[in-house]
């Protein structure tokens, strides 16, 4: 005769709402792009406090930052967290790829035997998981009803206190200057490798005597990077216009003018007009390109929009940089 004890064992891991120093150091490292792809939590069921059969179940991605930001907000709660396998990717990106998705949720409910752990049939999902999840299909195949919680984990307490209702404020994605700032280190780190390559080429050109590329080129370039990767993202809504590349170009142009003015233009120029024009063509284009790449990190761009922007920006950037490089090379031959 079969009895319940012959069923699979139900494993529930204990976790806490306290973040340790290691958790905090870990998230700092991720911001700087150190080991960011290896920041995972084991999928499965976790308990916070002392949950019973009527305690709420929250669903999280197995990216450690997603998991941590959720459990941090659950202090004082008795709850379960069902961590699904999103290959260590955050909720929003995983939902876009479909790994934070209907099938994985249905499977994970079966694996963790959630139906035996709790007596209710509600799952609280982060709202940003919605692009990957067909709520009514989860209900159809697992019997669990999907309730979308607030966008930000910090609103969870209010959401629960309001009887699992989110205000429209909690439903909206925001993108504050601080949100944008914390995304910029990775953007900068991503430019290190191509930059080293560019420096290498310039150094070679110096060696074979086509140079000389010197200090002005160096800080001009570096400034354009910072304008594109940090300044434009942080100042985004205040820069006139809508397209990211345009915004980056505008600030880059200001930077290029500053570089030229530093070097005495227009009254006591330290270098020729060709070179000054070269900077005006190259530096803003560089910033424009980097700013355009920030569309991916931003929260309010659409595929159709980015595509439209790129169709104009990319040819313009290429032409402008090529022209600029020609001017500067011609200049060094004169």
């Amino acid at each position: 005769m079969l009895d319940i004890s012959m069923g699979r064992e139900i494993t529930i891991n204990q976790t806490s709402s306290e973040l340790t120093f290691r958790d905090i150091l870990g998230s700092w490292k991720v911001r700087w792009g150190i080991n960011r792809m290896n920041y995972k939590v084991e999928p499965g069921l976790y308990r916070i406090g002392n949950p019973d059969k009527s305690s709420p179940v929250f669903v999280s991605a197995n990216y450690k930052m997603s998991f941590d930001s959720l459990r941090k907000e659950l202090s004082g709660f008795d709850a379960y967290i069902m961590v699904i396998d999103t290959k260590g990717i955050n909720v929003w990106c995983a939902a876009g790829k479909g790994t934070f998705g209907t099938t994985e949720i249905i499977n994970r409910i079966a694996i963790t035997q959630l139906d035996k752990v709790v007596s209710h049939r509600n799952l609280i999902l982060p709202q940003l998981g919605a692009p990957g999840v067909i709520g009514h299909e989860v209900l159809k195949y697992s019997g669990f009803r999907v309730i979308y919680g607030p966008v930000r984990a910090k609103d969870i307490r209010d959401f629960m206190n309001a009887g699992m209702k989110a205000t429209s404020e909690m439903r909206r994605v925001k993108f504050s200057a601080y949100d944008r700032l914390v995304l910029t280190p990775v953007e900068l780190v991503n430019t290190i490798r191509p930059s080293l390559m560019i420096f290498g080429v310039l150094f070679l050109l110096n060696l074979i005597g086509i140079g000389p590329f010197g200090f002005v080129d160096f800080y001009g370039y570096l400034g354009a990077l910072i304008v594109g990767c940090v300044l434009t993202p942080v100042l985004l809504p205040w820069i006139p216009g809508r397209a990211f590349a345009w915004k980056g170009w505008l600030l880059g142009l200001i930077w290029a003018l500053i570089v030229n003015m530093f070097n005495g233009w227009p009254y006591a120029p330290q270098y020729s007009l060709l070179k000054a024009l070269g900077y005006l063509l190259i530096l803003p284009s560089l910033s424009a390109y980097l700013a355009m790449n920030f569309t991916g990190a931003s929260t309010f761009t659409s595929f159709s929009g980015v595509l439209k922007e790129m169709k104009t920006a990319i040819p313009a950037i290429i032409i402008s940089i090529v022209l600029g490089v020609i001017l500067i090379l011609v200049n060094s031959f004169i």
């Binding site: 990106c93 919605a130 439903r171 994605v173 920030f294 159709s304």
Partner: protein, 96 residues
């Protein structure tokens, strides 16, 4: 200060005759695109739409349509270079 992106680009479409006014799309949309008017959901701020597809997937009555995609330039470039559908390939960083 509000962040705004390009106008008149979103591929979002609503088939009003199918909409039952269940309100799911208002619940999942992260950019406040819909409002409920006379028992039906209406696209009120189309330019806010980021084509994430959340509303389309979660509408139980298939009233909505959008071509979902990632609003990420480097993903699109990679898509062009490799001839694949652009997807947010987070392994090289900046996407998310």
């Amino acid at each position: 200060m509000r962040n705004r992106y390009l106008k008149n680009v979103s591929t979002l479409k609503m088939g009003s005759e199918k909409c039952t006014g269940c309100g799911k799309c208002l619940e999942v949309c992260p950019h406040n695109v819909f409002v409920m008017t006379n028992g039906k959901s209406v696209i009120a701020q189309k330019d806010n739409c980021i084509e994430c597809g959340a509303c389309v997937k979660n509408c139980p009555f298939n009233a909505l349509e959008v071509k979902p995609g990632v609003g990420c330039a480097s993903a699109i470039i990679k898509g062009w270079l490799t001839g694949t559908e652009p997807s947010c390939d987070c392994s090289d960083g900046s996407c998310c």
